[in-house]
């Protein structure tokens, strides 16, 4: 499985390294798509922000500092660190305010994610489990659709999706837990505010094991700044795991409209039980 990840990382690296060369060969930087501002309105009166969007410096390796698996791979190859700041904007020190037991667990996971000896040492992303909220918003790209009375997010990776009703309906009952939770939205000017509950917490926040529990509640703010830019802010409140609410920010840019082609993950896995058992016992590391 790690071999596979390394191959993907290598392929991405090659793509990223070769892209600027071909672009500069044409003598022009890719143009940043934009839309008129203030935005047009949808028929039901929402600010129309329908487009493909991508995070600036996306990646799900770690939040603190913000890093993609690809950047980590490059760092190991070149020996040059990327020195990204943390995605966490509150608390001001940029660190997730874990309770001591939770900090210890996260550090334990970070120490073993490349040398797993137990099933839970493997990141949920590697298992094709839904990345959930907020992790999906630092995946490479997503599409926003705005049918009447709702905002819909669709990703190509993991073929994840969320439907956020805007009609003021209550949350579903507390006994139903979902990978991306149960979001209820409202527009405040050009900011979409989503209250997300019912999280199953089966996903992690990044590869290095940052996490919350199914007691978490997330307030998400999609702050549309101009025709090209949106700030995604997620404030996570979870008294089971953290000492205080904390907030991450991911800057998103409008992308050219392009088709999302199939991105299957679990499909083709011949024997996931066998591949998991290989990590346990004397031949740990063979996988």
């Amino acid at each position: 499985m790690r071999l596979h990840q390394a191959a993907v990382a290598l392929a991405m690296t090659v793509a990223l390294v070769s892209l600027p060369a071909s672009v500069s060969g044409q003598g022009a930087a890719p143009e940043q798509p934009t839309a008129p501002w203030p935005p047009a309105q949808t028929p039901d009166g929402q600010p129309d922000v329908q487009s493909v969007w991508s995070p600036v410096g996306g990646g799900t390796q770690s939040l603190d500092p913000a890093m993609s698996s690809n950047a980590l791979f490059q760092e190991r190859v070149t020996g040059v660190g990327s020195r990204n700041p943390s995605r966490i904007v509150d608390p001001p020190d940029g660190h997730i305010p874990y309770q001591p037991w939770a900090a210890a667990l996260q550090q334990e996971l970070e120490a073993v994610y490349e040398t797993p000896t137990r099933p839970e040492h493997i990141d949920t992303q590697t298992r094709c489990m839904g990345p959930g909220v907020p992790r999906l918003y630092y995946f490479p790209r997503f599409r926003i659709l705005q049918p009447a009375d709702s905002v819909v997010f669709v990703w190509d990776e993991y073929h994840s999706f969320r439907v956020i009703p805007l009609d003021g309906r209550p949350h579903i009952g507390p006994n139903v837990k979902l990978y991306s939770g149960d979001g209820r939205g409202r527009w405040e000017g050009n900011t979409l505010v989503v209250d997300t509950t019912n999280l199953n917490a089966k996903s992690r926040l990044d590869v290095v094991g940052d996490f919350f529990s199914d007691n978490a509640q997330i307030e998400e703010r999609f702050i549309f700044i101009d025709g090209a830019t949106m700030h995604y802010e997620a404030t996570i409140t979870d008294p089971t795991v953290f000492t205080r609410p904390w907030t991450m920010r991911v800057v998103q840019k409008r992308r050219p409209d392009e088709e999302f082609w199939e991105w299957a993950c679990h499909e083709g896995e011949r024997d996931s039980a066998e591949s998991s058992s290989q990590i346990v016992g004397s031949d740990a590391g063979r996988n």
Partner: protein
């Protein structure tokens, strides 16, 4: 209870539907006059948006079948009640049936292909826009994009679990051409199957605000001697505040390990 009421609805809907002849010829004008009361989009197309579900036993078996333990009886959805296998393909289908516990991609929770995803016993949500209709399925959160902007299929060969869907309107019927499949998925739990030469044409027609007549033509010269059709009704969920939930069945075996065991 749900099942029996569903079957009752099916019978009622069939009674209310346009004559089979007009439905099968796709006579758009005739359907438009009959379907004057259906919801329409701002561009005057029938509006398929909403949450829908098939209420039939096609996923158990596309054909007529008696009840067996854990499997309700079902009336078939295949026109003429027969799937026209080539002789060697029929042998393969019998092998599939014998090995279905492990060979059916439903058992491995893979993306189920088209049209099977439509009649998996789970709701799905249609979001119709002028250029593309997006379908979100509760079952393994599958997604499809039915492009209606005149774009062609991408050049193959491509093997996608859910194929590539390009649609257009014929009168009030959304006609979707689907190609670029692999050969792994089945049509049902009894091993009815196809090859990578599968070509699916779906036809979505609103009968009224809450029922879609769904017809599918299956072509696959490697497996079948001729094209064949299925037909079923899709029902709108009218429950207040109904919404899609999760069924990520491949994840069930891992869920106990996350976020942390015993915490």
């Amino acid at each position: 209870m749900l099942r029996s009421s569903g079957l009752l609805c099916l019978a009622v809907a069939l009674c209310l539907s346009p004559s089979p002849a007009s439905a099968q010829t796709g006579d758009g004008d005739a359907q438009a006059s009959e379907n004057a009361g259906i919801p329409r989009t701002r561009d005057s197309k029938p509006d398929l948006s909403g949450i829908w579900q098939a209420l039939n036993r096609a996923n158990d078996d596309l054909l007529d079948h008696s009840a067996s333990e854990g499997v309700p009886a079902g009336l078939g959805v295949v026109e003429g009640g027969e799937i026209p296998y080539r002789p060697e393909a029929l042998e393969q289908r019998q092998k599939n049936l014998a090995n279905r516990e492990t060979r059916d991609t439903e058992a491995t929770c893979y993306l189920p292909g088209v049209p099977r995803v439509t009649y998996m016993p789970f709701p799905f949500q249609i979001i119709q826009m002028p250029d593309v209709t997006t379908i979100l399925y509760e079952y393994v959160h599958a997604t499809r994009y039915l492009y209606t902007n005149g774009s062609p299929h991408p050049e193959g060969p491509i093997e996608w679990w859910m194929g590539d869907s390009r649609g257009h309107w014929e009168g009030d019927t959304l006609v979707v051409d689907v190609v670029h499949f692999g050969d792994q998925t089945w049509f049902d739990r009894t091993g009815n199957f196809h090859s990578d030469a599968l070509h699916v044409v779906e036809r979505y027609s609103l009968l009224d605000a809450d029922h879609i007549n769904y017809e599918v033509t299956i072509e696959d010269p490697k497996v079948f001697t001729r094209s064949w059709k299925m037909r079923m009704i899709l029902y709108r969920h009218r429950e207040p505040n109904f919404q899609l939930l999760d069924y990520d069945c491949y994840a069930f075996e891992w869920e106990k390990y996350y976020p942390y065991p015993g915490r």
